[in-house]
Symmetry: C3
Subunit: 272 residues, 3 copies
Amino acid sequence: MNTITKEISQAIARLREAAPLVHNITNYVTVNDCANALLAIGASPIMADDPAESGDITAISSALVLNIGTLNRHTIDSMIAAGKRANECGVPVVFDPVGAGASRLRNDTVKEILELVKIAVLRGNISEVSFVAGLDATTKGVDASAADGRRDAVSVAGLVAEKLGCTVAITGAVDVISDGKRVVKIHNGHPMLSKVTGTGCMTTALVGAYAGANRDAFVAAAAGVASMGIAGEIAYKKAGQVGTGSFHIAILDELSQLDFAVMEARLKLDEA
Amino acid sequence: MNTITKEISQAIARLREAAPLVHNITNYVTVNDCANALLAIGASPIMADDPAESGDITAISSALVLNIGTLNRHTIDSMIAAGKRANECGVPVVFDPVGAGASRLRNDTVKEILELVKIAVLRGNISEVSFVAGLDATTKGVDASAADGRRDAVSVAGLVAEKLGCTVAITGAVDVISDGKRVVKIHNGHPMLSKVTGTGCMTTALVGAYAGANRDAFVAAAAGVASMGIAGEIAYKKAGQVGTGSFHIAILDELSQLDFAVMEARLKLDEA
Amino acid sequence: MNTITKEISQAIARLREAAPLVHNITNYVTVNDCANALLAIGASPIMADDPAESGDITAISSALVLNIGTLNRHTIDSMIAAGKRANECGVPVVFDPVGAGASRLRNDTVKEILELVKIAVLRGNISEVSFVAGLDATTKGVDASAADGRRDAVSVAGLVAEKLGCTVAITGAVDVISDGKRVVKIHNGHPMLSKVTGTGCMTTALVGAYAGANRDAFVAAAAGVASMGIAGEIAYKKAGQVGTGSFHIAILDELSQLDFAVMEARLKLDEA
């Protein structure tokens, strides 16, 4: 077992012991799944998106997750207030630029957040991440465009990580995590994960949970991404043939069963 | 197999091939189910309800679904902005007047939307549809009143379709779809569908998915309603005795398994 | 079978017969589960949180449930408008002060609601209830702090019930319900209930359902708390080993199967 595999597998043990409180300002489509994914992995979720309290809640939390899936001015202000407070308090910020590129509001918001908040981990598909960093990309709604070309994910992740000075996690058929120095590719997961809404949002929430219990953001990002991939592939074996509803529930089941041994045995990772 | 049965069954094949992006401005109670129902049937969901982006998102979508289940001024403005843009772009608008009749806000909103937006399909229970068209009705919250008298659904649907110049889908023990010229009754479904929140909202979302991939709004409405009915009756056989939680998940499972063959074999339809 | 056990068991029969409409102004994290829990237990849910309609909806409802899980100024105004209207119309108000103590906004809101609205039942964990009543407590997000000391729940419940003049339900390893005169402890439930988001919110919604169909708020509170405990312990036997996703669904299944016989046979209650 190589070092990074060991570190990722140990990260879940630390997470389950620490039970970090994770503050989420996220969309109302998948928020219930994010809360249940956080509980399943051993964290404690709190959702609070009013500017009058978002900073207070961040201050008592171990990580902050920002997700722009369903934006409005109200939540944008909350995200910025919470993000600034997180930076002051040393709370890691995980950012999911859902649908970046799809509307001017989303694009402006991404720009505003990146200018005002120092983020620890950026998690998105390749078109979203490319857009965030000002690389050329088009977005069809909130799904990855087939035309994005997975072969470039390693170079995109590295480029964006250096540009933003953070860890970047690009999820897709193969997931790529880079902090500009270290890079790993993760080969877990299953295509059916794209047939359940919120698997991306849950992945970002999981990264937040790991970041709240582990100092190394690169390890946290890899562990979060790997957790969803491993849970997804076990879930597919158990429920994939039944349909997307049962598969959805099985993902949460498997997240709640994940531990050091499962992670260590199943992680398919290579250092790019 | 009659013509309309064939057309409805073919509609799902076209939908799964086209994978239309469906923009939903909907309530926060059942939004996750709507997103998962859309994915299950082969569409791609996007939810965006800020007036600053709702038009932009509609412009890149193949259908727009408006659902007034949890209204506020903010989402009303978004619905109107998106609806107008949809009309400009030729994007079909599907409207679900949840709880019409239950409050002045809902009634005023229905009026405002109908004045400013040309809709392709109206989907509701008989009291909601009657209220929308100014026919006499009382609404007990968001459920169909038992006193509504199912026997009139055909005449109500036809009347409202002519008045509004759109397709009308009235769902109930027997579903009725009319565009003022054509009328079908669909006898699929199961009473337990009323024991899971969101089955109406999901039906409307499915109609949006079909409308995004099929030009004939009447066929799209019938196909959306039939999909929920068929998924519901199979789900009941598999999980109805277990309880409403498992039945809920089974509905999504069966939606994800629907195809031409299942639709063709199970559709119980007569032309009224 | 003692009197209170009989009254609680009879309460579900009355609820299923009355099918009360329950108006919920609640958080967007667990709102779908609350709606499904209400349907499962035999009530009819309606969610409406705009100040322009919240009073109207309350006026046609049999109970009002206020839950501050995800607050904003908009929903605070709605809660107060609906609460006042409920008091005018004799509609019982059930209040869930989620995360009270965690931010100034929540604390101010709790104070504002208690000043302006007469509540029938207060349902929370011991730290939330203690905080609401001005007793010393600290809150770690929305979960009960382990340091709270369950042994004091009986005295806290009695104290707060007298202070606020309402029924108080403190849920935890052992649940305590008090109206200042009567006190019961309920020993149903399972620790895994804390691993699914919304089991507290659903319990509060269930109390609302019972309060909408039963005049005695003390009995309604005990029946709502007992329903979740009993459903949870049966669900654990069926699905607890599978994981938290399946357990979640099983809770809803068991709520939908609850009846007089199950309640009577399983209720573990003692009068403190």
